[in-house]
């Protein structure tokens, strides 16, 4: 039974790591390969995302539940930023409140995959999945 619980834990954190790494590589693809300049809000979200690529594996080898404590604050802040960004993108938060000054506007539309998936929405989906997985890890302890 103990081994089972460890396996569940391991798989959840492993999945979180895959999502974090795929998202980090994806964002690098947008900025460095497709030359989309990241706006200020994107940078803050990247600050929350990129460290997870290195932090999460620390909880895998050897399995160490404390990794949730270290990763969760980043994920929560990233999720809040992504949610704010999407509200702004959708026009619920007026443009003059946006913290971006020069360079790229945070409401700039670069791509829309399948007609609805914008880059901020991809970020929100990734952070939501990460949040869900880490919360599941926390709950599965009991």
């Amino acid at each position: 039974m103990v081994a089972d619980r460890t396996d569940t834990y391991w798989i959840l954190v492993f999945l979180a790591w895959i999502i974090a790494t795929a998202s980090a590589l994806g964002s690098l693809f947008f900025s460095n390969v497709m030359d989309f300049a990241p706006c200020v809000l994107c940078w803050y979200q990247r600050i929350c995302l990129f460290p997870l690529v290195l932090i999460l594996p620390m909880g895998l080898f050897p399995p160490d539940r404390r990794v949730v404590r270290y990763a969760l604050p980043l994920v929560v802040v990233g999720w809040l930023l992504a949610a704010y960004h999407n509200l702004m993108h959708a026009g619920f938060i007026p443009e003059e409140l946006q913290p971006c000054s020069k360079g790229v506007s945070c409401t700039e539309e670069y791509i829309e995959l399948f007609g609805f998936l914008s880059i901020p929405l991809l970020a929100l989906l990734a952070f939501s999945a990460l949040l869900g997985l880490l919360v599941a890890v926390h709950i599965s302890k009991k």
Binding site: W10, F14, W17, I18, T21, A22, L25, L28, F29, V33, M34, D35, F36, A37, P57, L60, F61, K102
Partner: protein
């Protein structure tokens, strides 16, 4: 077991990224190639300033921002290529005013062109970039004192800058930038082929390769 799984996942992710880069870049090259054949006008507009022979079979297009440092540093390489292969290269200048205030500098260049001094003015502005740019911002007022040494009529130039024909040039070049997906300067195209990888040496190599292809010995 878990270590292997992790290692495989890491390799798959990195390899996926790498193939994505490759796929995207080859797709872009093919697109540009297609555009170069199908709609060459996106690269060369009738209004675009040119150097070299009109009959040349190698066309070098440079999208430049007068305030961009790298654009200035590439200028000698283009000049050297024009000298090394006389009559075989046509150089086309396009504007990519990405920096704040750069469109004003493009207006100055086009107004200088009306006095027949475009290339001298461009060279001078490149050379004195540190005088009239500060933290990537253009300070137009620092350009005026530089111009009389070229024999330009600055009063006339300042009037000409507002010419709607110049506005049309800037708008057309901006539209073509958008169409070509250009977001960085300088943007070089040699017979429609993008400069890839970016660099001075790759540019010289690309020009030489096209010369060899179009003018076989």
């Amino acid at each position: 077991m878990k270590r292997t799984l992790f290692a495989v996942a890491a390799i798959v992710l990195v390899a996926g990224f790498w193939f994505g880069v490759d796929y995207y870049k080859s797709g872009r090259s093919a697109d540009l190639d297609f555009m170069a054949q199908g709609s060459a006008s996106t690269f060369v507009r009738p209004h675009s300033p040119t150097l070299g022979s009109d009959d040349a079979r190698v066309v070098v297009v440079k999208f430049t921002d007068p305030a961009c440092e790298t654009c200035a540093r590439f200028s000698p390489y283009v000049r050297q290529a024009l000298e090394a292969f006389p009559g075989q290269i046509k150089f086309v200048l396009r504007y990519a005013p990405f920096h704040e205030g750069s469109d004003q500098v493009v207006r100055i260049l086009e107004a200088a062109r009306m006095q027949g001094k475009l290339w001298e003015t461009l060279e001078l502005l490149y050379a004195k970039q540190d005088v009239w740019t500060h933290n990537h911002r253009v300070i137009v007022s620092k350009i005026w004192p530089l111009l009389p040494e070229l024999g330009l009529d600055v009063e006339r130039l300042r009037t000409d800058m507002a010419d709607p024909r110049i506005t049309a040039v800037i708008e057309q070049d901006r539209a073509d930038l958008e169409k070509l997906g250009m977001r960085k300067t300088p943007g070089f195209f040699v017979n429609g082929k993008p400069l890839e990888p970016f660099g001075a040496r790759p540019l010289v190599a690309l020009i030489k390769a096209e010369i060899l292809e179009k003018y076989p010995k």
